[in-house]
């Protein structure tokens, strides 16, 4: 029987990862540029949660600020990438532009960690905020918050896509950028808002991470592997596929590795790498992911 803490870890992790995967795919679909700074943007807000907790507040109060921070950074990144794209820069150049932001945020995170170390006399190289968490009926609040946030975001997003004018405009832009332009949709505005939103939810999800897990400045780089794996498994161009992929990868990383670690105890530290293997196999065997498989079963 799998211990409760492991199951809870898997659940929290899957909610966070699935939202992150969905956001990454959304950014990819809109501009055909994978955002290499994505994980870093998401995990930059962990330091906000840390700061708020150190100041004595409930960690969740950081959430709205995390949304704004992630959104703002993502918005600025969009402006740079859109500018270069209009100039005719190749995909290589556009990905380099995302790397520019990745580097700045990476440096920023570390500088802030150093600053915290000075001011709060705390080694922010590795921290976990689980002790600052609230308990609701002796269940860690993070469980409920991460579930509510993820489910809420998916519902909100789906409704927005279907019901609102903005959502329809966004679908049009994702489908065919030029055609949407010709039809009078302000594509630049739609994409700026979309990227702000995605950055925001990335920041939101990221800010929840340290409330359960241990955090260090390299988590972003490692999570990028898992996010990539989730998107590959789900289907590179499918938003809901990535959502599903996020759950699958999260569960396999935690539950499957746990089960394997009963026989091979050393495997537990290599969790992130197992996602990489799954991604590699998926890329070779089913390149269009689960979404592609479903499409094939339906139509083809």
């Amino acid at each position: 029987m799998i211990p409760i803490p492991i199951i809870l870890t898997a659940v929290v992790y899957s909610f966070i990862l699935s939202i992150l995967a969905m956001g990454f795919t959304l950014q990819y679909i809109t501009l055909s540029v994978p955002n290499l700074a994505y994980a870093t943007i998401a995990f930059a807000s962990t330091y906000l949660t840390l700061t708020f907790s150190l100041m004595g507040m409930v960690p969740y109060t950081a959430m709205p600020f995390a949304f704004l921070l992630g959104g703002a950074i993502s918005y600025m990144l969009y402006k740079l990438v859109a500018y270069l794209r209009n100039k005719g820069t190749s995909i290589v150049g556009l990905m380099m532009a995302t790397i520019v932001f990745d580097l700045i945020i990476y440096a920023g995170m570390n500088i802030y960690a150093d600053y915290l170390a000075q001011v709060f006399k705390l080694y922010a190289g590795s921290f976990s905020l689980s002790e600052y968490d609230l308990k609701i009926f002796s269940i860690p609040a993070i469980l409920l918050v991460s579930a509510a946030t993820s489910i809420g975001l998916v519902v909100f997003f789906t409704l927005m896509l279907i019901k609102t004018k903005f959502g329809i405009a966004m679908r049009a832009v994702m489908e065919n950028y030029n055609l949407a332009n010709v039809h009078g949709i302000n594509t630049e505005r739609v994409l700026s808002i979309a990227w702000f939103f995605v950055g925001g939810i990335a920041g939101l999800s990221g800010s929840l991470y340290p409330i359960w897990f241990a955090m260090d400045p390299w988590v972003g780089a490692r999570m990028f592997i898992s996010i990539f794996a989730a998107c590959v498994v789900g289907g590179l161009r499918s938003i809901y596929g990535s959502l599903l992929g996020g759950f699958l990868i999260a569960f396999s990383e935690i539950i499957v590795t746990y089960l394997l670690s009963i026989y091979f105890p050393w495997i537990w530290s290599y969790r992130a790498v197992t996602s990489m293997l799954i991604a590699a196999v998926a890329l070779v065997e089913m390149p269009s992911g689960i979404a592609g498989l479903i499409q094939k079963l339906r139509g083809g």
Binding site: S32, V33, P34, L36, L80, Y83, L84, K87, T89, I91, V92, G93, M95, M96, A97, I99, V100, F101, L103, I104, Y106, A107, N110, I111, D114, Y115, A221, R222, F224, I225, F228, A229, V232, L236, S269, Y270, A272, V273, M276, A279, A280, L283, V284, P287
Partner: protein, 342 residues
């Protein structure tokens, strides 16, 4: 002062090998790979694992583990290797051969997904592969000392007080050979073939060229040379700390060096590497001049890299020395070494 110069020079050598390999892969063949550090780490890991243990076998040192009792083993190996140039050189050669052979294989295996994936996802895949290898290296103590790292042998200890210079001279010689090899290859019909595949794979195929095989061979060759760079770097440092092989230092900086120098132009890449290596080394040495920075100067490097990358992308994406295809008369004179016709 001499030490500083040699330090810069050797650092430059390693990076030239890396950037020329990148230019070969991307500037010539058009393969977009952000996980450059993957074969480099492989080379470093081989250098961390193999020569020390082989030396232990040769000198019959038992009861100790190279990784766990690193300091003790090194102190036992040093006197032995200091008086045994033959074994030292043999260890160096074997390490290089194994590392390059392993990288050749890995390049071959990596080529399989690389040819099926769209360009941007290949780049990501290689980046994740490199990061995964780094995670593995940092978690596994017996491989390369895990997070703490591991000290390795110096194949030039037999030069006593000149052992560092010996290693440096070796590095310079190897680099010169690599530069020569790449120059020859790039200015030959192969270079032309690679560029044609970069420009238009379909047209290339319609000229009878097997684009997939050629891209695979390019990647494999490039991997092998990058493994060489990893081994050299490890021996020059005298130690392997896997955590130090970050994507910023060994993937993104080389990309910037190539882009600023001039993608597709070996000379441009060479000069770009030179300029940036000098800049970085001097920054590290002249740390105290950066007193005005409110933060640790270590973090200034990625910010500087970001700023330079952004500036290049916006103002001069083709680099300082853009690619210049050769005129026919030039080609005939310089490459074929014949009299110019017509």
């Amino acid at each position: 002062m001499i030490e500083l110069t040699i330090d810069i020079l050797t650092f430059f050598c390693v990076y030239v090998i890396i950037t020329l390999s990148l230019n070969f892969q991307h500037g010539y063949a058009g393969i977009f790979n952000l996980g450059l550090y993957f074969p480099i780490i492989v080379g470093a890991l081989v250098a961390a694992y193999l020569p020390g243990r082989l030396a232990m076998l040769i000198y019959n040192i038992k009861g100790l583990d190279f990784a766990a009792n690193n300091a003790a083993v090194i102190s036992l190996l040093r006197p032995n290797l200091s008086s045994d140039p033959l074994v030292s050189i043999m260890l160096l050669v074997v390490t290089l051969a194994v590392a390059m052979g392993l990288c050749y294989l890995l390049g071959f295996l990596s080529a399989y997904p690389s040819l099926k994936l769209p360009a941007d996802y290949l780049a990501l895949f290689m980046l994740c592969a490199g990061e995964s290898l780094r995670v593995i290296g940092m978690q596994t103590d017996w491989l390369a000392g895990g997070v703490m790292g591991i000290t390795i042998i110096n194949p030039f200890w037999w030069l006593r007080e000149y052992s560092y210079y010996g290693m440096a001279l070796f590095a310079i010689t190897v680099t010169a050979a690599v530069i020569l090899v790449y120059e020859r290859m790039c200015n030959s019909p192969l270079g032309r073939l690679l560029r044609s595949i970069r420009e238009n794979e379909l047209t290339s195929a319609s000229l009878g060229k097997d684009a997939n095989r050629i891209k695979r061979d390019t990647l494999t060759f490039s991997f092998t040379i990058l493994g060489l760079a990893g081994v050299l770097h490890a021996f020059l440092m005298g130690a392997v700390v896997v955590g130090g092989y970050t994507r910023v230092d060994f993937s993104f900086w080389p990309w910037l060096m190539m882009i600023i120098g001039g993608t597709g132009n070996n000379l441009g890449v060479f000069l770009g590497t030179f300029g940036l290596v000098i800049m970085r080394r001097i920054m590290i040495v002249a740390k105290h001049y950066f007193w005005f920075l409110p933060f640790n100067v270590v973090w200034f490097e990625p910010i500087l890299l970001a700023a330079m990358l952004a500036a290049t992308l916006v103002f001069r994406p083709q680099g300082i020395f853009p690619e210049q295809p050769m005129k026919v008369s030039e080609y005939v004179r310089k490459v074929l070494k014949l009299e110019a016709k017509e």
